[in-house]
């Protein structure tokens, strides 16, 4: 058996970590370029090769129609669910999508679990390269507020990536595990996890017992579509409105420019976490430059409604745990979006306590997943995690009303037994509809599955079928039925309302074996060459512009030398060398890029009176 790892499969970034026996602590594993954060971006190039991570992120600018980010937003969802997202995210949903969304990347079509599997595969290869041994089992984290379909989709992604998923762990709980190990905390802890695409709040109690420490989740709440992405989208819509007003420009016609702008605005957002103001300079596709200074105060005024949306779930979780804000002894911040000063201030004011942020908020979830992986391996023996199901489980009854059979915030595994019978003579099937959610009516809850209990023909009301609903430690539903008259187990054919069937996964697995996995360094080489190609292309384009004539001969020859060196490296097979040459060429063209930007600025400013500037 290979090694077990912990994986944080995030909306914006994903990470992989392992438990280091030598130091008795978890650590994140770096990728080929030393970074532990792998952008959750996947791109498919013209010859069908899949590119993941930083290289794929760069291709968002050059090949947006072949590249996808934030795919986590689509996991476990149907086409009707994501209509709102489609207005903001450049997802190209295939027309043939039914109970599973299919996304088009260039001329190929993938389901969200397949795309997530590419990210998992990439991380797996990082760990295998780092360890020099195979990795075949993993603990993967999910937002605590993920429903059954979203969890199943994540587990399917693991399977498709060739990983046995030992456990799905809720992200805030994983963070608490990492903190608990690190800080030796005890008592009541609130974990505020504000990531790229999801928000979770979990209230935990950390208890020392004779056997060891128990991490008991008392309640959890959240929003699976609230995160840093929303801040980015808001900034974009504000700026695009301004561009339309100022330049009469509609950016929707320029998908590459949209991604360029998104990148610039994310940069400004990051800058505003430490600076009082940030300036966005953006060369418009039709000429001219948009320049905009954003102050911290202005930024905070804009995003305040987004931050405020996190407080509803926070209050709900406290109410469910029957605790008040002041009773919380520790507050832990997790997720990149908690770097925003307004988020920290809001949380601190609400709880009246300074939140913890000692551990890197990007890494802490992956670290916790590695701890749980080691617990399951039998390594760490004195820690136990008791988590809850975030949503009530119910069954549809007469008139479309939902009867709740397992309440939300029940410790998992949790179960419920229900008895069913027939309503008419000689009925041979009883239809069941299982749902998840807090609302009273089936139409307002999330459909999980429909299935039919088979019964032998008999007078009405004679059949006695007991159905056991069980939510396992992953938060995933299992259903078993037993005919009480015959004592026989009844097999169930559960058709998931959203998600892949077993047969579909098997088929995908077969296909992925056919497309034999490329060797790690071979894949890295392809990615590096792709990157070199786009760098050369961009440089050549720049050199053909009139401003290039202004370069002094030394600089021009430095660029030519760097281009030749990159071409030579690309002809070889050393991916690290290719990457180094790309960086060198990038360095050599910095002045050129600056000159072009200034020139564009000057052109834009020409003809404007001074007081307008």
């Amino acid at each position: 058996m290979g090694r077990v790892v912990g994986i944080d499969l995030g909306t914006t970034y994903s990470l992989i970590a392992l438990f280091d026996k030598a130091t008795s602590g978890p650590r994140c594993i770096p990728g080929p370029y030393g970074e532990t954060l792998c952008p959750s971006v996947v791109s498919v190039d013209a010859n069908g090769s899949v590119i993941v991570g930083e290289a794929a992120r760069r291709r968002l600018l050059t090949q947006p129609d072949r590249t996808i980010y934030s795919v986590k937003r689509l996991m476990g969802r149907g086409v009707a669910d994501v209509q709102d997202e489609l207005k903001i995210f450049p997802f190209r949903i295939d027309a043939g999508s039914q109970h599973v969304i299919r996304v088009r990347l260039g001329d190929r079509v993938f389901t969200p679990p397949e795309i997530s599997a590419f990210i998992l595969r990439e991380l797996k290869s990082w760990a295998e390269e780092y360890l020099g041994e195979p990795v075949d089992r993993a603990v993967i984290t999910v937002p605590a507020y993920f429903n059954d379909a979203q969890r199943q989709a994540t587990r399917d992604a693991g399977r498709l990536a060739g990983l046995e998923v030992l456990r799905l762990v809720n992200e805030p709980t994983a963070a608490a595990l990492a903190y608990g190990l690190h800080e030796k905390q005890r008592g009541r802890v609130a974990v505020y996890d504000f990531g790229g695409g999801t928000f979770d709040i979990s209230i935990l109690k950390l208890i020392s017992t004779g056997e060891g420490d128990i991490y008991q989740v008392l309640s959890t709440s959240g929003d699976t579509h609230l995160g840093g992405d929303d801040i980015d989208n808001l900034l974009q819509s504000i700026v695009r409105d301004e561009m339309r007003a100022e330049f009469g420009l509609d950016l929707t016609q320029h998908p590459e420019a949209v991604q360029e702008l998104r990148k610039a605005l994310i940069g400004a957002k990051h800058e505003l976490s430490s600076a009082e103001a940030a300036t966005v300079k953006f060369a418009l596709p039709a000429g001219g430059v948009y320049v905009r200074e954003i102050t911290r105060a202005e930024f905070e005024k804009w995003i305040e409604p987004i931050i405020a949306r996190t407080m509803g779930p926070v209050k709900q979780a406290l109410a469910d745990a029957v605790l008040s804000a002041s009773e919380m002894e520790e507050i832990v911040l997790v997720g990149g979006s908690t770097r925003v000063p307004l988020v920290r201030r809001t949380v601190e004011q609400f709880f009246g306590r300074r939140p913890h942020a000692e551990l890197n908020p990007d890494e802490v979830v992956a670290l916790g997943a590695a701890v749980q992986a080691d617990i399951l391996e039998g390594g760490v023996k004195n820690m136990l995690l008791l988590d809850v199901t975030p949503l009530a489980l119910g069954i549809e009854t007469m008139g479309g009303v939902v009867a709740k059979i397992i309440p939300r915030n029940s410790t998992v595994p949790a179960s419920a037994q229900e008895m069913f019978t027939t309503g008419v003579d000689n009925q041979t099937g009883i239809d069941l509809h299982v749902l998840q959610g807090e609302r009273e009516l089936a139409k307002d809850c999330r459909s999980l599955a429909r299935f039919q209990l088979k019964v032998p023909p008999a007078p009405a009301g004679l059949a006695r079928v007991e159905v056991k609903f069980l939510i396992d430690a992953n938060g995933i539903l299992q259903v078993a039925a037993r005919d009480l008259r015959s004592g026989e187990q009844r097999s169930l054919e559960v058709q998931p309302s959203y998600g892949l069937t077993n047969a579909e996964i098997e088929k995908m697995l077969e296909e992925s074996i056919e497309h034999a996995e490329q060797d790690f360094s071979e894949r890295q080489l392809i990615e590096a060459r792709n990157e070199g190609e786009s760098m050369l292309h961009a440089t050549e384009k720049a050199l053909s512009q009139p401003q290039a004539a202004e370069l002094d001969p030394d600089e021009r020859s430095r660029i030519d030398v760097a281009m030749a060196a990159l071409r030579a490296a690309m002809a070889g097979t050393d991916y690290k060398l290719v990457r180094a040459r790309v960086d060198e060429l990038n360095q050599a063209t910095l002045d050129l890029a600056e000159r072009m930007m200034n020139r564009a600025l000057a052109t834009a400013l020409e003809g404007k009176r001074l007081e307008e500037v």
Binding site: L166, R167, I207, T209, E211, G212, I214, I375, L376, E377, G378, L384, L385, L386, P407, S410, T411, V412, P413, A414, S415, A416, L470, I471, D472, A473
Partner: protein, 231 residues
Amino acid sequence: MKTDEIRTASVCWSCRAASAGEHFCPACGKIQPLPYGTDYFTFFSLPRKLRVDPAELERRFHKLSWQLHPDHFVRASERERELSLERSSQLNDAYRTLRDSISRVEYLLAQAGLRKQGQQKQQAPPELLEEVFELNESLDELRVARKAGSSNGELADLRKRLETEQESFQQKLAEVDAELEDVFGEWDAALDAGANDALRSKLMARMNELLNRRSYIRNLVASVRQELAEA
């Protein structure tokens, strides 16, 4: 239901030694299947009493969690993994039910076939009929007044009347809870004294009636609260 603990004798699936429904085989230590119909009190090795020390119950919950949780069976056989899932889900269900005094007594009565768990009686208890009638009248008046766009002063008066009536029902709820608490004590004493079925049945019937009254009043208070929030 004479015995305070129901144990089902069986044989260990692994070593064939005799066991009496324990979580683990006394001989080989392997986790055991849950006998059909094992009740929540037995699961915690508790008598079927209604006054439960929450700290003690939590202590038992944590101890059993250590022993039964699926985390500790990841590398065990498939059979043991299934049994761990079965036992630990039962543990969590049992703890969820027994830690709250109302769901605890509802469970006890459901086991005795006296009520369906989570059942809500919609019929007004006879002794409350008059007051319920008045409350409903006030509710109607408020609705009509709101629709007709009555003056703020008029609405405020109606609100005040409703609030007073609501407080009276809140008071009744507290009385029902206190009364229930007393019957719990009587039930526990009856168990200790080895009381006969007749006394037990009488106590259960009384608790059932109190629970019906409680759920009725709670629904009433909730609907008034909602109406006041909307007004």
